[in-house]
């Protein structure tokens, strides 16, 4: 169960003071049952290696890796968060790990050494938010053109863009 994982984490990394928080608590007091922990960026690799290999955790698979920009979120302390969704095949439980970073130059160590599937997911977060992953084998843009300058999923980038979508040459019939 995920609760055992939290207990194991608290035992191993006492100084980080892990506490299990629920992703969602409903208005009538129910809990969604999905737990997350907060990890500081500099200890991320140690914690992730522990979660991957420890007998009580055994999170063999990294299901998802996504970024969130908390610029317009009420009562947010940090600007960016990267959420790791870990899945254990052995015990069939999930855990969410969040790392919070800030501008300028947000940077997080890369977990591609632990789960190979993080490679493109981290590239996508870099592309969309501008968060650099140190130690990534090939950190460059993946979904947008290589010469695109902005990071679109940031809240201060407008939905309709800044004119990049109209910046092309017109081809007319005379140009056959």
């Amino acid at each position: 169960m995920t609760i055992d994982v939290i207990g194991a984490l608290q035992a191993e990394f006492g100084e980080l003071e892990f506490e299990a928080r629920s992703l969602m608590r409903y208005a009538d007091g129910r809990d969604s049952g999905q737990l997350w922990v907060r990890v500081p960026a500099e200890r991320l690799l140690d914690v992730m290696k522990f979660l991957r290999h420890d007998g009580r955790c055994k999170f063999e698979q990294l299901s998802d890796l996504g970024g969130i920009d908390y610029l317009n979120f009420p009562d947010a302390d940090d600007r960016f968060a990267v959420t790791y969704n870990l899945l254990s095949h052995t015990y069939n439980h999930r855990l969410w790990v969040k790392v919070f970073v800030n501008d300028p130059e947000p940077a997080i160590p890369s977990v591609t050494g632990i789960w190979r599937g993080a490679e493109w997911l981290e590239r996508e977060v870099y592309d969309m938010f501008g968060i650099r992953f140190t130690g990534h084998p090939d950190l460059r843009r993946i979904l947008l053109p290589q010469n695109f300058v902005d990071h679109p999923l940031r809240k201060d980038y407008p939905l309709r863009g800044k004119g990049e979508r109209e910046d092309f040459e017109r081809v007319t019939r005379e140009m056959a």
């Binding site: 947008l144 979508r165 109209e166 092309f168 017109r170 081809v171 019939r173 005379e174 140009m175 056959a176």
Partner: protein, 203 residues
């Protein structure tokens, strides 16, 4: 002053794309064009399926057995632009793909026509975002717009038939003669309504 005998037999004829003086020889050549060459052209349009997204699946369904596009002679979907004459742009075109589309268009050999299939190719569709080009007609000349999201195969077939009507009326023109606007109105306009540029005859 005597009129030239040749001039007495000429009339001024106006077609969709221009006006030219007609002699009997011109009528003969025009007849060969309309009923020979254009007839052959419009019943063997080879599409270049530039299928990017969901409209690509409906394009495939149009080519499949139920909504057979082979009836129109158009089942030879050659994926090389050099052998095609009808570019069907099916699906949204994003800014990374736009230069590719333009290059494919330029690689096609004359005469060529373009169908913009679906709402996303015609105007950006549901996606008014930073990445999607809001209508390929901003950067590419388009002959027929097929609306729908995605258009039903019957709608696409109607679009292909509209291109066939354009081919029939067009005559064989070089690119210099064509200019902007085809002078083709698929639906008759109401009186007194101002049409946009490129619609409703020569402006």
């Amino acid at each position: 002053m005597e009129l030239n005998q040749q001039q007495q037999k000429t009339e001024v004829v106006s077609t969709g794309g221009g006006e030219f003086a007609a002699t009997r020889l011109d009528y003969l050549v025009d007849g060969i064009r309309k009923y020979g060459i254009n007839w052959a052209r419009r019943h063997s349009l080879w599409p270049m399926p530039f299928a990017t997204a969901c409209c690509g699946i409906e394009l495939m369904a149009t080519g499949a057995s139920r909504y057979d596009v082979a009836r129109f002679g158009a089942e030879a979907m050659r994926f090389t632009p050099r052998q095609c004459d009808l570019l069907i742009c099916a699906g949204r075109v994003v800014m990374k793909m736009m230069p590719v589309l333009q290059r494919i268009y330029l690689q096609m050999t004359e005469p060529k026509w373009v169908i913009s299939m679906g709402a996303c190719a015609s105007s950006g569709g549901v996606f008014d975002t930073y990445a999607v080009v809001q209508g390929i007609d901003q950067f590419l000349p388009v002959d027929v717009y097929v609306p729908g999201c995605p258009p039903r195969p019957e709608t696409l077939l109607e679009g292909i038939m509209a291109v066939q009507r354009i081919v029939a009326a067009d005559g064989v023109k070089t690119s210099q003669e064509r200019g902007r606007g085809l002078g083709i109105v698929i639906q008759p306009a109401r009186q007194g309504v101002e049409l946009g540029p490129g619609l409703g005859g020569k402006s």
